[in-house]
């Protein structure tokens, strides 16, 4: 299992992501955004979190023009698995690889805390180790995590099982921290090979640090 992790100027979760996947037994490689291609043996490409280009203009808006993004689009089009976490999710929506957009949090504050999420659709490689209705406890840390999609787009997401995760309380009841449409925390594309979520599973790998619920999420990618 080879995980390649994208690094833009301002990315700051690449080493946490590397730690998480190494802990699960993967080989990892950090790929600088100026690279024209991604490693040939990549089984999973992760667009890591952070503040690419300082979030200037809009989160992810400038990163989408980095040289490596052309290779990312080609990799995704060929069915390669792509996971965008936090800023990575924002980059993937800006690049048009995932539908919708991430707006400023409804309360306007940067939110940094553990939050519960409910699995809505496990019919995909990412969440197949979990069951629908499972509740996990995962850190969130974002200013622009307010997922927006228009009504028609939402219906399409729901019809295709593309809504992966929703923000809830510990009992799985909807609890929306940031104003996201339908409390959505994570989605995938129609082909179910490109995934994006605002919460940070790579920061939930050690029970000692508050939660190890990220292990079961990221492990989904290890079994075909």
């Amino acid at each position: 299992m080879k995980v390649s992790i994208l690094q833009f100027p301002g990315t700051n979760c690449e080493y946490d992501t590397e730690y998480a996947f190494k802990k699960l037994g993967a080989d990892t490689e950090i790929v600088w955004h100026k690279s024209q291609n991604i490693p040939n043996d990549t089984d999973l490409l992760v667009v890591a979190g952070g503040f690419s280009y300082g979030d200037y203009l809009r989160s992810g808006a400038i990163a989408k023009f980095s040289p490596v993004m052309k290779a990312v689009a080609e990799y995704a089009a060929e069915g390669g698995k792509v996971l965008g976490i936090c800023n990575g999710f924002q980059v993937l929506t800006e690049a048009g690889l995932l539908p919708g957009a991430l707006k400023r949090n409804e309360g306007l504050h940067f939110i940094s805390k553990h939050h519960h999420l409910k699995v809505v659709s496990n019919d995909n490689v990412f969440l197949k180790k979990l069951s629908n209705g499972d509740v996990v406890n995962i850190p969130i840390a974002h200013h622009d995590g307010n997922y927006y999609i228009d009504e028609a787009g939402l219906q399409e997401l729901e019809a295709n099982g593309q809504v992966l995760l929703k923000y809830t309380d510990a009992n799985g009841e909807i609890q929306n921290p940031n104003g996201s449409v339908e409390s959505i925390a994570g989605i995938c594309n129609k082909e179910k090979n490109v995934f994006g979520l605002m919460p940070h599973p790579e920061r939930a790998m050690e029970a000692l640090l508050g939660s190890a619920d990220g292990v079961n999420m990221l492990q989904g990618f290890f079994e075909s």
């Binding site: 400038i62 957009a101 707006k103 306007l108 927006y148 104003g179």
Partner: protein, 80 residues
Amino acid sequence: MIKAIVNVYLKAGVLDSQGKAVHHALDSLGFNAVKDVRVGKQIVLQLDETDKEKAMSDVTEMCEELLANTVIEDYNIELV
């Protein structure tokens, strides 16, 4: 030289949380005549161009590709 002023706002129908917060603050200050507030951003471009039509079409392309995210934002362009 042509100066282009680009205004970018959230689309009507997309909740503008910043506008709502500013509206609330103005209301608290006693400016009760304010009925709606939209907060956007202004991007000012200096173009090495003399043809206004060309400038307009270039800036429109810039908006579509980068300056606005048309999933959630509208824009308007003023040439000076």
